[in-house]
Symmetry: C2
Subunit: 329 residues, 2 copies
């Protein structure tokens, strides 16, 4: 019996309606339906090698052994896939990101999407996309949104089988740009798994959920119509709502850094001066600045002038998680 190997490349995604709070933690069932876009320039490449000579799973991220906690989460995810393939082979997992980890770019989303697709391929499991999204979701909720291409909706549901992600528009539907202003590359203090558990105590949790549900229709409609202003207004409000819930949880979680506020204020000033751009922020300090492609060069230049902005990554709507032939190991 020889080793069985596959490599997958997956985009991170940016949510316009956020995944924040779960109705079931073990099954990672979200409180609300979310909408996102894959980011073509923020990717994870993962090679999975099931190898009969291994005595345990091995996990290398950026050529470094990870914490036992991260390794355990990967083993638990591989167990789900091994069970489906009816195998007991241990695996070597080698993964690299095109962006810094844990700084508010959803590295766990692209990581678990790539892991899912690579592991299934290595074991010759030929699952339909919908099943892959459900499987990826069990590893990391937002990972399901990185499986399909382009603009994706992840359905909130009461059962695992109904909580899948699907494309609502292909990448070429809209030349929307996401400029990630990187302000911090240290690992954030509270990871987003903890964040989801903090949701209940915020006095704003119920109101945020209702607002996200209303916002979902607004954003879906604006996205389909390519109505940038209607889209951007709601996206920025949703991001603020999500962070307001985190800030008002107990203990309070403030993901923002001084630079986060500097960028938020600058984009509002530029917008008032006629540059159409809106912000969203994931569970971290980086700001994602959204614009239509004609404004991306100006916006990128202006973002670089702000104190504390270390880098700006330009993303367009990205493809589905896919298998590639260049292996990392």
């Amino acid at each position: 019996m020889t080793e069985r190997k596959a490599t997958a490349l997956s985009c991170a995604n940016i949510a316009f309606i956020k995944y924040w709070g779960r109705k079931d933690h073990d099954w990672r069932l979200p409180l609300n339906t979310s909408i996102s876009m894959n980011l073509d320039n923020a990717t994870t490449t993962t090679t999975v090698i099931f190898d009969p000579t291994l005595k345990a799973d091995q996990l290398l991220i950026e050529d470094t052994e990870t914490t036992p906690k991260a390794a355990l989460r990967v083993t638990e995810h591989l167990n789900r896939i091994r069970k489906l393939a009816d195998t007991y082979l241990w695996a070597r997992v080698v993964s690299r990101n095109s962006f810094p980890m844990g700084a508010g770019i959803a590295s766990s989303a692209s990581a678990f999407a790539a892991l899912t697709v690579a592991a299934c391929a290595a074991l010759d499991l030929d699952l339909p996309e919908r099943e892959l999204t459900i499987l990826a979701r069990l590893g990391s909720g937002s990972a399901c949104r990185s499986i399909p291409a382009g603009f994706v909706e992840w359905h909130a549901a009461d059962t695992s089988e109904e909580s899948f992600a699907e494309q609502i528009a292909p990448p070429d539907h809209w030349d929307l740009c996401d400029l990630i202003a990187i302000v911090q590359t240290e690992h954030k203090v509270v990871d987003s798994s903890k964040g989801h558990e903090l949701v209940d105590p915020s006095p704003f949790a119920a109101a945020r959920l209702a607002a996200a549900t209303r916002g979902l229709s607004v954003i879906r409609k604006a996205l389909m119509a390519r109505d940038f202003v209607a889209f951007g207004e709601e996206v920025e409000q949703e991001a603020i709502r999500m962070h307001a819930v985190a800030m008002t949880s107990q203990p309070s979680v403030l993901y923002w850094s001084p630079e986060t506020v500097r960028i938020l204020q600058a984009v509002r000033t530029w917008r008032a001066a006629g540059l159409p751009a809106y912000c969203t922020i994931d569970a971290g300090a980086n700001v994602h600045v959204l614009c239509e492609s004609e404004h991306a060069p100006t916006l990128k230049r202006q973002l670089h002038t702000l104190y504390g902005v270390r880098d700006v990554i330009l993303n367009r709507p990205g493809p589905a998680t896919r298998l590639i032939d260049e292996h990392l190991a």
Copy 2:
């Protein structure tokens, strides 16, 4: 007939449960009861001279003529007092602050408290404190809290007569310090009168109101018991709740600057390291850092080390608005 003159000195106040949102704009009836402390080192001095030779009210703040809008608001307030005193004399009003205007220190509170007390004295109107608080409230809501000494509660009510402020503890009840970290002296973009009108559209308005009502009991009790940790936890949460409501209103109002977040994060770090201090923020970018007096010197020194902190003003519980003999004009 000769000129009739009086001068009053009033402290600004910092709210622990915030005044945010009104149930009646004309009568300045607040949505919720608030609690505050007078700030002995952030004061306004106002001289009012009713002068038969004047053809209109005159208003000088920091030796400068103000905007017509500010002058009109003062004239409207003087009209209330002239009506009570049954006089038609115009007045010259000269006012000076010990702190920069419009930067999140409640200058309109101390300004309207001092104006009310000076104007009533000049016209020999001898009103009980409760009536003075109601009168001051009609000029600027939070001004009513600057009338009594020390720690003050302003009651939400359905009628003007019931929405008064009163002392709940004298200044010497608790040696609480408020260190105002001044990060911005420019006039803020949205004044707090506008802020109150923005409250309705926030999806969090109702939840914030319920939380403020619960928080009121917590803070009153902790304040009476001088339980600093219970007090500080709730004060900081209430401030974040108020700003979350402002941020999620439409249009969104973000009073914070990068420095606001730097101070919030620093105080949390210091607190985790054993320095008992909590933050609150009014409608502006400055941060008020609360501590018991034994920690004030350390905290003041540490705040001065933060980038962007231009000054730190140390305040202790302040006296009532009072008449003084040194006139500004």
